[in-house]
């Protein structure tokens, strides 16, 4: 193993290859482009395939084809590209095909897209939001495991800051061998041979009379699998000094790194401030947020959009504590989600103001 200084997007690519991803397709868009470049550089040496597709539509189509044929596969883009992929993501979910979708987002405007999705039908996708290189490696591996376990697309959310922050990672020239193809995946056996398999959003078997799929039975199986998946994934969150906090901040991804610094600074100065950082955005860590809010004066949702995750926080707190949004920040001229307003200093000021406003409240 050697330690290398790499850009965050290379750490993401390295983690995917280490997790056994051997098929990757995408179309360039900042800040996803560098992930695609690093996959293109690394996959051929591992016997894998990386395709610069004609568009995001083709990329996700190739990826669910590769996954249906047994590969650990992934695609990605920014939110714009994921908009184009929504139909395939929902169809793949209905077909029981798992793969990983990276949303290297600009800002956090894609929270709703990631956690609800824009495709049709009764589907959900697990969503993981890592921060820092160690957690990126851990959660990307977990995303592939979840995609295999639940045969469902899994979204991993990053952002411009993550893609462009340089970090040291441990890596070696070779990556672990990919897992063998699951038994349900297509292996080239043709119809009539007795060994043919069927992977389709319409069903996994034809009706006995051979006149098509039993859609009602299939959708029922899909719904049951989704309910089982929802219950089977443990929501995760990091709690920072929430025990006796008057102000509880809720933030994910890079925004949580700012909140973490502010909580540590303010605690050192004697202020009762805490942080809940959702790690799974779906399923949302409702119980952790509710427990942290208990006894607090106010919950502040710090997100780099005009207010999206705040809805999930309100659903968690259910009116027990006031929930306010710290959001609506400006973006710099690149429009890549870099906000000049997102600083330790500004958040410190906002939290001190909340402490002042609530200092007279009975607790």
């Amino acid at each position: 193993m050697t330690t290398r200084l790499v850009e965050g997007s290379e750490a993401v690519a390295d983690a995917m290859m280490r997790a056994g991803c051997r098929f990757f397709a995408g179309y360039p868009m900042t800040p996803f482009t560098e992930v695609l470049e690093h996959m293109a550089a690394g996959l051929p040496e591992l016997g894998g395939v990386c395709v610069n597709a004609e568009s995001e539509l083709e990329a996700v189509g190739m990826v669910w084809g590769a996954a249906a044929a047994g590969a650990r596969a992934a695609t990605g883009s920014t939110g714009q590209g994921l908009s184009l992929m929504q139909e395939s993501i929902s169809e793949a979910s209905m077909a029981g095909v798992g793969f990983v979708v990276l949303n290297m987002a600009r800002g956090q405007g894609d929270y709703y897209q990631a956690t609800r999705g824009g495709g049709h039908g009764d589907y959900r996708t697990p969503v993981l939001a890592p921060t820092g290189p160690a957690e990126v490696a851990e959660l990307i591996a977990e995303a592939f495991d979840l995609a295999d376990r639940w045969r469902n697309p899994v979204v991993v959310v990053g952002d411009y800051y993550m893609a462009h922050t340089w970090v040291d990672i441990e890596s070696s020239a070779d990556a672990p061998a990919p897992r063998p193809a699951p038994g349900w995946t297509l292996d080239g056996s043709s119809g009539g041979s007795g060994a043919a398999k069927l992977v389709s959003p319409l069903g996994t078997t034809k009706q006995r009379d051979g006149v098509g799929y039993d859609l009602a039975a299939h959708y029922d199986r899909c719904a049951r699998r989704r309910i089982e998946m929802t219950a089977g994934i443990t929501p995760r969150a990091e709690q920072v000094r929430t025990d006796d906090a008057q102000v509880v901040i809720v933030a994910y991804g890079t925004m949580a790194l700012y909140a973490d610094a502010v909580v540590n600074d303010l605690r050192a100065a004697g202020h009762k401030v805490g942080l809940v950082r959702p790690i799974t955005l779906w399923p949302f860590p409702e119980e952790q947020v509710r427990a942290a809010a208990e006894g607090a004066d106010v919950v502040a949702v710090y997100e780099n959009n005009a207010g999206q995750m705040i809805d999930d926080v309100r659903l968690s707190v259910l009116g027990a504590v006031p929930v306010v949004g710290l959001n609506g920040f400006s973006t710099d001229s690149s429009a890549f989600g870099i906000s000049p307003d997102v600083t330790v200093e500004n958040l410190t000021g906002s939290i001190l103001q909340l402490l002042d406003e609530h200092s007279g409240d009975p607790t």
Binding site: A134, A261, G360
Partner: protein
Amino acid sequence: MVPRTVFSLAGSMYHSPMRREILFTGIGGQGVQLAARTLAEAAVADGRRVQLFASYGGMMRGGNSDSFLTIAEDPIKSPPVLGSAWAAVVMHHEHAGDIWPKLREGGLALVNSSVVDPASRPTDASVEVIEIPALDLATELGSPIAAQLVVLGALVAHTGVVSADSLVASAAAALPSYRADAVAVNRRALDAGMAMSGLTHPAWELATA
């Protein structure tokens, strides 16, 4: 409503001997990004943990060029844009206004005094300012674009934040092959900086330096 609590980032728990944050500021073309990358690579070679985030304008020369570097002995959990820092390398005053208040009490500022306006200096009197006529020295050595390496050499001489060997190696490795002819003069610029001082502000406990 009680009065707004007075609060200073100088109380940051991140002011730890395990962690050193260095801010770089200048304008495009001064090699600010190269200097930050060079120091970051040297820290990795020394076996320390590193986080580096850059912010720069979309123009070849003259736009803001800032870097935020954290070097630590333990895994780093930090926002990309730092709120407070232990040291700063200031190559130009144009965008230094945001940098000065971030320096903690007793911090260190290395200033390219050939260029930086004398009116642009730290807001906190406890910050030690080390004036380095880096552009003049680098010009004498035959490479004005190596001024940032003079400052980098001086930072390492004063603090030992990375080892001299790692710094020299990473400076050579940082250049693309078509810049190989600059390795020698860059080395002279680093040496000029490193010769300016002994260890005055050790970054690490001496046992681990």
